[in-house]
């Protein structure tokens, strides 16, 4: 693999050393500012990840399950910002989630998982613990 970049949009993305990188798709498969879901596996369990490509071609990955409804739909929310913080709004009940930290802006006690992301040779890879 060449031209490897790890996106560290904020310190929370500092990847631990024992993560496994799973290749998901070509970056160009993602529409800027529109999410897509990916199905990965962590220790044999399926994990759904919501991927968001931003206009500067950085990519954020958060858990796809909306904690307020239980539905695996966060990838289908509208992407935007609140006061400059990049967010996705859940399509079910519209709570906003910080794409960098996974924290819910409308209920700070709620947080969805975030995953490290890197692009290798045009391929998008997500780090799974």
């Amino acid at each position: 693999m060449t031209a490897e970049t790890i996106h560290t949009a904020g310190t929370v993305h500092d990847a631990p050393s024992d993560i496994r990188w799973e290749t998901v798709c070509l970056l160009d498969r993602l529409l800027p500012e529109r999410g897509a879901a990916a199905l990965l596996a962590a220790g044999g369990e399926p994990v759904q990840v919501a991927l968001f490509r931003m206009v500067d071609d950085t990519v954020h990955a958060i858990g796809n399950i909306d904690p307020f409804s239980g539905a695996a739909v966060l990838s289908r929310g509208i992407v935007g910002d609140r006061g400059g913080v990049p967010i996705v709004a859940s399509p079910v009940y519209k709570q906003a989630f910080n794409l960098i930290t996974g924290q819910c802006l409308d209920d700070p006690d709620v947080r969805v998982p975030v995953y490290p992301v890197r692009i290798a040779d045009g391929w998008l890879q997500v780090g799974i613990p």
Binding site: V24, Q48, G70, A72, I78
Partner: protein
């Protein structure tokens, strides 16, 4: 007053004032001192009698009903008139023989119509105009007259040209009759308007298809071959299908009279300034009260009396003040604005009158000022009453400007600061400018908030413009900003996009906004772009703006699956169509349900199944029903003339045509419609954003209705129009709504928020007052010409199809969180567990 818990208060009369009294007592009596019994002669709950004639143009009796006081301490005893009063035993007896003991008795029996003692006044076809039952009888008679098989116009004689008479004339005209008003005084509305104003008023109402005869009286009424002939004092004979007496009212004081209570010189229960009769247990309020000898026929003084009595019953010392007896009125009489306030007829000794009479423009304005020309005493406005809200509260105050300039066209515009704090801004509820300003200071930052905390503006509404001025003056900036990314409203954004030709969100936010956008502004801009005809909603960058429903052209359900609704125009569907839908649902394992909009919803489709489902539907001739969009949903219909024995027009044919015309039209909110083939209204068209009801001659168009959280009936916009005129009106209505409404504002709220409300809407889209109707119609023609099915648009475009996958790395693997169980023979979602995410 001593605190005896459980005292009995009996209120005789359940009109507007009686109702207000009960409310006022309950508001104050937190300790529950009084148990209240209301005796009402009419069988129905209290209603807004002032708005009676609105029943003719579309409101129902229920719309007029006043909010019920539901309270265990209040008992209503309706449909049973009080007939006798025993003051020694303190007992009221009703017609049915029921007896009610009282510690306090409030007479609120109102008044009865005065019918001059002319021969023939009891003939069939003669009516009075006071109650809903009276109006029902008039409506039935008018309907019979209109339906009678004979040539010529149907007409009615209205005896009395005062406020009530003109209201009755308006109702009759709306019922399809030509009214002729006979007034014994030399001018119309003699109690409110002076001679000059009366002349202008007469000319204006005559141009509204109304005949007026002043200075004459009706001397007899006779029957003539099924019609009536009214003979006037000048010998003229008028023939009419019905005669309505509205020549004034008399206090309904029979109960007090027989119980030996003293009456006023011209009737009415004589009471002091505390509204108490000489019997300390008996009070009177409203039209039956002769307050210090004088009766008042308007609701505002009645409300003030109710407040005074409520205060007294709870130990207060309130009395009526001169401001409480304000007989100012502002109303629209047959489309003509009339206002009269303070000493309108210049009865104060030495009063001076300043008149601006503009017969060409059809307006008349007069101010009455004190002999030193320093204090405003009253005034009359006819034709243009826009200055009423500013002038009326100034009565009794020093004139802030030259009186001629205050009423001349193009003269000084008085701001809210011209009013002293003590000035009564809302005369219906006696709310001063000071009270409103302190409510604003306490955080009431819009008109609804002021209404909620002060009650100002909740009755006749004429002071609402002044409330807005006070808000502006207090510096409350009402933010119109769509969201943190755009400082402008949706309507302004529409103008910007339409005017600049900008067609992408990125360009728009770069030039007119800030940041990256959000789930508020992105769908709003997407909707505007769609309304302007910018191609498929999933083309290019537009796809990223869409809410999930629009993005997947289906409706997201709670478990992450979608529902699919094909269009079934007008609810008309062939057996083959039904079979196709059945087979598709069966083959894809979907739950099916009939919707309220006369179509079929299929639930439980996963994202990756959607294209295959659409393929089957589109191949069978179906298309998207736009159930997912803020767009035209359905045009519901009844079967109409094709099958129904009562139908008057082809309601299904029209509904299908309308639904096909407006399909795919995106709007600030969803738009629902209905067409009924006759007045029985089986399609429930009046609960829709636009509703059409067939008449004998064409169609009636209603606008601004909705079901939902706050149900509302649509109001009549135009009557008896033909199909072409109807479609032009709907084109204009929808386009004007799309261009000017706020985000997620249904048509009802849009009309309500409009300055001038329904009248303004009518002026714009019926009378073309802004000169934009041709443009609105052209915009709709463009929509109709450019429509294409959004489902087919996806099926024919591999790039769009690519997005309909469950997972970008496993396109056909179903979402593992979705599963179903069977309930009543159909699949339903297994409830989803919530992950433990809370810290």
């Amino acid at each position: 007053m001593t605190e005896l818990v459980g005292k009995e208060l009996v209120v005789v009369g359940n009109g507007m004032v009686g109702h207000r009294l009960v409310q006022a007592v309950r508001d104050r009596d937190t300790a529950g001192t009084w148990r209240i019994t209301v005796l009402g002669e009419e069988p129905r709950p209290a209603y807004d009698r002032v708005a009676l004639s609105s029943c003719v143009d579309g409101k129902s009796a229920d719309d007029l009903t006043l909010p019920a006081v539901s309270d265990p301490l209040v008992q209503l005893h309706l449909g049973d008139a009080a007939v006798a009063l025993d003051r020694d035993a303190r007992v009221v007896r009703t017609a049915s023989g029921a007896e009610f003991r009282y510690d306090a008795l409030v007479l609120a029996t109102g008044s009865v119509p005065f019918v001059p003692p002319v021969p023939g006044r009891d003939l069939p076809g003669c009516f009075v105009y006071r109650t809903l039952d009276d109006l029902d009888a008039i409506m039935a008679a008018a309907e019979r007259a209109v339906a009678a098989p004979r040539p010529g116009r149907r007409s009615a004689v209205v005896v009395g040209g005062g406020l009530l008479g003109l209201e009755a004339a308006r109702a009759l005209r709306l019922l399809g009759l030509s009214p002729q008003v006979v007034e014994i005084a030399p001018r119309l509305m003699p109690m409110q308007v002076d001679e000059g104003g009366g002349a202008v008023l007469r000319r204006l109402v005559e141009s509204e298809d109304l005949q007026v005869r002043c200075g004459v009286s009706v001397t007899s009424i006779a029957e003539d071959r099924g019609r009536l002939i009214a003979t006037l004092s000048d010998g003229v004979e008028l023939d009419a299908d019905l005669v309505v007496f509205s020549a004034g009212i008399r206090p309904a004081d029979g109960l007090a009279r027989e119980a030996g209570l003293p009456l006023g010189e011209r009737g009415g229960v004589l009471v002091n300034s505390a509204c108490r009769s000489p019997d300390p247990h008996i009070w009177a309020v409203g039209e039956v009260a002769a307050l210090e000898g004088r009766t008042y026929g308007l609701v505002a003084p009645g409300y003030a009396m109710a407040e005074v009595v409520a205060d007294r019953l709870l130990g207060g010392e309130a009395t009526m003040t001169p401001a409480d007896l304000d007989t100012s009125t502002q109303l629209k009489m047959l489309g003509v604005d009339v206002a009269s306030f303070g000493d309108a007829l210049a009865r104060t000794p030495g009063a001076l009158e300043v008149v601006v009479n503009d017969p060409v423009a059809g307006s008349y304005a007069k101010l009455v000022v004190s002999d030193d020309a320093k204090t405003l005493l009253g005034g009359v406005l006819v034709g243009d009453a826009s200055k009423y809200a500013t002038l009326r509260p100034l009565v009794g105050s020093p004139l802030p400007a030259d009186p001629v300039a205050m009423i001349a066209p193009g003269g000084v515009e008085l701001g809210a600061d011209a009013l002293p704090d003590s000035a009564q801004v809302c005369s219906c509820n006696a709310i001063t400018k000071g009270a409103i300003c302190s409510a604003i200071a306490d955080g009431a930052h819009d008109v609804p908030a002021i209404k909620a905390c002060t009650r100002a503006g909740t009755s006749c509404g004429s002071c609402v413009p002044m409330l807005k001025k006070l808000l502006e003056q207090s510096g409350v900036e009402v933010s119109k900003a769509l969201c943190e990314h755009f400082a402008v409203s949706r309507a302004e954004l529409f103008e910007i996009i339409a005017g600049t030709g900008i067609r992408t969100f990125s360009e728009l936010i770069a030039q007119y906004g800030r940041g990256r956008g959000c789930d508020i502004c992105k769908p709003a801009v997407a909707s505007i772009l769609a309304s302007l005809g910018t191609g498929h909603v999933l083309s290019g960058e537009q796809a990223t703006l869409q809410d999930t429903n629009d993005h997947f052209l289906a409706n997201l359900q709670r478990n992450g699956t979608y529902s699919v609704v094909p269009r079934i125009p007008g609810g008309e569907i062939t057996p083959e169509g039904l079979i196709t839908i059945g087979e598709v649902a069966r083959d894809f394992g979907l739950y099916t349900k009939i919707t309220g909009g006369q179509r079929i919803d299929m639930f439980g489709a996963r994202v990756e199944q959607l294209p295959a489902i659409w393929r089957r539907l589109v191949d069978a001739g179906f298309e998207s029903g736009h159930a997912y969009g803020k767009a035209l949903r359905t045009v519901k219909s009844c079967v109409g003339t094709t099958w129904c024995r009562y139908g008057q027009q082809d309601s299904v044919g029209l509904a299908v045509a309308l639904e096909l015309r407006y399909r795919g039209l995106r709007a600030p909110h969803k738009v629902k419609a209905g067409v009924s083939g006759c007045a029985r209204e089986c399609a429930e068209a009046r609960s829709k954003d636009f509703g059409v009801i067939a008449t004998e001659k064409g169609w009636n168009l209603y606008v601004g209705g909705n079901g939902g959280f706050q149900p509302r009936h649509a109001d009549l916009l135009a009557s008896d129009v033909d199909t072409d005129a109807l479609i032009s009106l709907i084109d204009r209505f929808l386009m004007f709504y799309i261009r000017t409404a706020d985000r997620l504002q249904r048509t009802a709220a849009w009309i309500e928020a409009m300055d001038g409300g329904l009248d303004h809407l009518r002026a714009v889209i019926v009378d073309d007052s802004l000169g934009i109707c041709a443009d609105l119609e052209a915009a709709m023609e463009a929509h109709v010409a450019n429509y294409s099915d959004e489902w087919r648009g996806v099926l024919e475009d591999p790039e769009k199809l690519e997005r309909f996958v469950s997972f970008v790395n496993a396109p056909d693997t179903p979402d593992p969180t979705i599963s179903f169980v069977s309930e009543r023979g159909q699949p339903v979602p297994v409830p989803l567990g919530l992950p433990g995410v809370r810290a």
